[in-house]
Amino acid sequence: MVGKNCFAIASDRRLGVQLQTIATDFQRIYKVHDRLFLGLSGLATDAQTLYQRLVFRHKLYQLREERDMKPETFANLVSAILYEKRFGPYFCQPVIAGLGDEDKPFICTMDSIGAKELAKDFVVAGTASESLYGACESMFKEGMEPEELFETVSQALLSSVDRDCLSGWGGHVYVV
């Protein structure tokens, strides 16, 4: 979710196999660099592999360009890597959030074969995505400060996962 010169990215903490809960402290949000975070929902093994491949590509980029990747560029990279597997896809929906030039927040999400969806306010992914759309739509305000953004994102996340059997067990929230 986008705020005033900041963004927040949040995820739940449950790892499950259909109805059975396997873990209650699973990390889904990864830091690519200080101003770029990636959340990966869906199949856990694909999320981990995808993250490892993206970190590898980003490190190469850092060596060549001697700077961090811009969020828009990173989104393009994720989209391309997902489309490479068009006929045997990664079962993941990424949520990308970063601060671009002049601290302008950038967020986007994709489906599992790389269709980018840019938004100015919020993006959601996961089994409770329909619930999340509703919660975010009603709770979102333009230009929130970091503290208020944190509250909004947390409440939207918690109220949505409370209505989903496959999500829950608390949340991780990162505000940048």
Partner: protein, 230 residues
């Protein structure tokens, strides 16, 4: 094609003092939680309880229907119907609707002249008499706790006290709601004794989690801290 399990956890067991019946309160439609406050323990009459697993409408309707038939039996025979008789009435009704898509996995628990009684009845017409049952998608986890206990003090013994049995039932439901995504909400515990049934407790399983596993304050639990790495 694998038949989808009924998304719930209910359990009942007989012990020296009577029958302990417990259930969660979550209703799920696929992945969506439609309610966290469903009454899954149905009061058929003041000395008999039925548990709900499967279709909510099916269970509610047929339990109420069973209550009507039990009352008619009382009036016609001038004595209360036994748990055996009541469960047989229900099983025969469900058998006659076999194959029509009813979804009922229920336990009939009560106290009659022969003492405590517990029967498992389902929509395929099955009827089993037993001492311990658990029904629903969370039942394997509940059986794990019920059969072996979570600590030395509360494993299943016939001669438990009412408080010990209630705590065992509550713990079993809690552990099932922990692992099973289709169970959750409130863990209700009912006791059926010689004077009829009595509701003992209804605890939110989230609160039970922190009661059984209290959070130790650690450096991670701080607000808005600089996170060095993800």
């Amino acid at each position: 094609m694998v038949k989808p399990a009924k998304g719930t956890t209910t359990l009942a067991f007989i012990f020296k003092e009577g029958v302990m019946v417990a259930a969660d309160s979550r209703a799920s439609m696929g992945g969506y939680i439609s309610s966290q406050s469903v009454k899954k323990i149905i009061e058929i009459n003041p000395y008999m309880l039925g548990t709900m697993a499967g279709g909510a409408a099916d269970c509610q309707f047929w339990h109420r229907n069973l209550g009507t038939k039990c009352r008619l039996h009382e009036l016609a025979n001038k004595r209360r119907i036994s748990v055996t008789g009541a469960s047989k009435l229900l099983a025969n009704i469900l058998y006659s609707y076999r194959g029509m898509g009813l979804s009922v996995g229920t336990m009939i628990a009560g106290w009659d002249e022969t003492g405590p009684g517990l029967y498992y009845v389902d929509n395929e017409g099955g009827r089993l008499k037993g001492m311990r049952f658990s029904v629903g998608s969370g039942s394997p986890y509940a059986y794990g706790v019920l059969d072996n206990g979570y600590a030395f003090f509360f494993f299943y013994r016939y001669d438990m006290s009412v408080e010990e049995a209630a705590e065992l039932a509550r713990r079993a439901i809690y552990h099932a709601t922990f692992r099973d995504g289709a169970s959750g909400g409130v863990a209700s515990v009912y006791y059926v004794g010689p004077n009829g049934w009595k509701k003992l407790s209804g605890d939110d399983v989230g609160e039970l989690h922190y009661r059984y596993y209290p959070v130790m304050p650690s450096t991670v639990e701080q607000e808005m801290v600089e996170v060095t790495g993800a």
